[in-house]
């Protein structure tokens, strides 16, 4: 009888701890899961920046390419009013013009073509990715370790949350086994 009372008290404390730690982990879980989805598909999209491209025709001859007014001529033809940061000759026919507000103009004089690229950081998800990939201070690494320990606590304490026929020690334990088997199965696929 005494043992049952003590056991009930332990389970109650564990449930309260599981609940509060669960609440605390909501923010971190959101950061890691959203950025996890974002960086998992890095080959399909840029998770940190939105990249907008537009291609336009230009008409700049060889003499104009060598003139001091080349940059102004390019901006004029493309009807761009942004300030120039700097430029770079990549080869005899390829030229880059770097403009303010994260805009770059790629010019191919052989094809008489300009590609205007504007890069805009994705405001919220870029911050999440930064945290996920440990691109901030070393203190974040320690905090992430602490979060990992909390997740481990949530997983283990979950085993003791429910008693009776729905506990993991009954038929519901199949879910626990399945959760272990699924990741293991990927090692053999």
């Amino acid at each position: 009888m005494k043992r049952t009372k003590r056991s009930n008290g332990f389970v109650r404390k564990l449930r309260a701890l599981h609940r509060d730690i669960g609440y605390f982990c909501i923010g971190m879980t959101a950061v890691f899961s959203i950025s996890g989805l974002a960086v998992n598909h890095i080959d399909d999209w840029n998770p940190n920046y939105q990249v907008d491209l537009s291609v336009k025709k230009i008409s700049i001859n060889k003499t104009q390419q060598n003139s001091a007014d080349l940059d102004q001529l390019i901006l004029q033809q493309l009807e761009i009013t942004k300030k120039i940061k700097t430029n770079f000759w990549e080869s005899e026919s390829r030229y880059k013009l770097f403009l303010e507000k994260d805009t770059t103009v790629f010019l191919n004089f052989n094809q008489q073509q300009a590609t205007i690229e504007t890069v805009t950081p994705r405001p919220i998800i870029a911050s999440f990715n930064k945290l996920h990939l440990n691109e901030v201070s070393q203190a974040w690494v320690y905090f992430s370790d602490f979060f990992a320990i909390l997740l481990l606590f949530l997983a283990i304490s979950a085993l003791f949350m429910v008693k009776g026929k729905n506990s993991v020690w009954g038929i519901r334990g199949g879910w626990v086994v399945a959760g272990i088997i699924v990741p293991l199965a990927f090692l053999f696929i």
Binding site: I42, D43, N46, N48, Y49, V51, K83, K85, T86, F88, W89, E90, S91, E92, R94, K96, F98, L99, E100, K101, D102, T104, F106, N108, V119, P121, P123, I124, A126, S127, F128, K130, L133, N134, E135
Partner: protein
């Protein structure tokens, strides 16, 4: 209250990634060891075992992981690739056009003709640039700087 809290959080996360100031990676660049990229690449063997600092405009950045960037040399058409292991430093994709200083060691990479074509085609694809395989005529040695410290100087705009 709830709306305020959510708005404040969103604002915080939005602002956290948009601050534009000079950025240092690793130890930051050591300005006492400056060597012009053209000097470095004209006699690379003289610099292989020592730490050097190079400076140049960032003309290309790895768009996926920010694991490399190309700095423009003081010599026309020439660039030097600054390469880190994924995650060691993450160079911002929108830092193109800014000036960067990188301190580290120069590493040679010997490539057969086939490997060189493969390598430059991959780089061009990553940088979304054009690549002409016929520009590679034989085996070659390329050089890249593996930095311990990088500093990017942002222009005021």
């Amino acid at each position: 209250m709830k709306t305020f809290a959510i708005t404040a959080l969103l604002y915080f996360f939005s602002f956290a990634s948009s601050a534009l100031e000079n950025k240092s990676f690793g130890t930051g660049a050591n300005m006492d060891k400056l060597v012009a990229i053209s000097t470095l690449l004209s006699s690379p063997n003289n610099y292989l075992d020592q730490e050097v600092t190079v400076a140049g405009t960032i003309v290309s950045v790895c768009s996926k992981r920010g694991c490399w960037m190309k700095l423009a040399s003081d010599k026309k058409f020439q660039t030097l690739r600054i390469k880190v292991k994924d995650g060691d430093m993450v160079f911002p994709f929108n830092a193109r056009g800014e000036k960067a200083f990188a301190t580290g060691k120069l590493f040679p990479i010997k490539l057969s003709k086939a490997k060189a074509i493969e390598y430059f085609a991959h780089l061009a694809e990553e940088a979304k640039e054009e690549f002409d395989p016929s520009s590679i005529t034989g085996e070659m040695t390329i050089y890249q700087l593996v930095p311990t410290g990088v500093t990017i100087e942002y222009q005021q705009s």
